[in-house]
Symmetry: C2
Subunit: 212 residues, 2 copies
């Protein structure tokens, strides 16, 4: 056996992980709050390349925090993306996590319309006081968010779009489109991404919302 | 705008992704069934490095398929890992997905014992006719699986351990330990891994179980 398991208390594991990430990243140009988001994404993926690929709209973090503090809801594209969110911390502000992809009505509409269930679920969910949309899986869902944005009344628009779908068909392309928008977004360029990345970004924002 | 969104029917997206992955990987030494597992992991992560880091015990795929066909259950370390599994296809064989990490009893025992909730949840869950243990998040859970393995009566042992935790504290180390075991496992060496990797492996096996 070459490796040695580190003896460490459960509550110390995250802090030690974050320390290692900060140490290995070295000095960066991220402001302290953006750094915390980047750090949590690397923590969730074991992949330092996200320090290069993540793109933040200038007011993205303020917008995400404001949406959480206002008690608005978080809409996810897939159930895995909902399962990972720190719901207790979010609920303290009044918000909850919504994912409609397993809704039978969504399935019916998707089959009738030839759309993916993810995009139907996003369109239906966007009417429910959404503060943050979090798309980690389906490029079609992210494309639908951007399409709906323009059609939504300003007061119904989400405060922040977290769009980090993963994959080989339209993932990189949909994220590049998002990166050109003039409303608050957080994305990562290229094929990588995924639900853990989306969850890490949202959970970092939920923690930042607690800070003064 | 530099990118162009590909027009593609929802049901064709996965096949097109798999085609791109096979094309870019080029010829490999994987047997056809192992290739399908590797391909689904790359599909879930956008990360070709898993073609290098995944390690399969020689009978791992047979063991996983046999466990699914026998109607045994799948135990996951976190709720996200349970949420992503193709439960309908699994249920056709009689099995279901179990995750005890949000169980209040698990929380109580973890606090009293100084263990992580993940490891307590694994130990409790392993008594419930588990065919596959799927650990994508918590190294402590994977260490607990390996510890329990020796203590379990042979008929209670899972058929396959999928151990792919991600991270900076004991993730790589726990996977290296798993890779030295003489019972069926699938793992990936290094820091990368995560719940989508675990889910992709399990879902690939569930699909292989349907093939003759």
């Amino acid at each position: 056996m070459k490796s040695t398991i580190m003896e460490i208390a459960p509550e110390a594991i995250e802090a030690e992980s974050f320390r290692i990430i900060a140490e290995e990243l070295g000095p960066t140009e991220f402001d302290p709050r953006t750094f915390k988001v980047v750090q949590r994404v690397i923590h969730a993926t074991g992949d330092f390349s996200f320090a290069e690929s993540l793109v933040f709209y200038p007011q993205a973090i303020d917008a995400g925090i404001a949406a959480i503090r206002a008690g608005r809801n978080i809409l996810t594209d897939v159930n895995m993306g909902a399962a990972g969110v720190s719901k207790g911390l979010l609920a303290a502000w009044g918000g909850s996590v919504i994912c409609k992809v397993a809704d039978p009505e969504v399935d019916r509409i998707a089959k009738e319309s030839g759309l993916t269930r993810s995009e139907v679920a996003i369109e239906m969910g966007l009417t429910e006081n959404i503060g943050i949309v979090s798309v980690g899986n389906a490029p079609t869902a992210l494309l639908k968010v951007m399409e709906c944005w323009d059609a939504l009344a300003p007061e119904l628009r989400p405060g922040l779009v977290v769009g980090v779908p993963v994959g080989f068909v339209n993932a990189a392309e949909s994220k590049e489109l998002l990166s050109e928008k003039t409303y608050p977004f957080i994305t990562c360029l290229g094929r990588k991404g995924g639900t853990p990345v989306a969850v890490a970004i949202v959970n970092a924002l939920i923690r930042l919302a607690k800070e003064v």
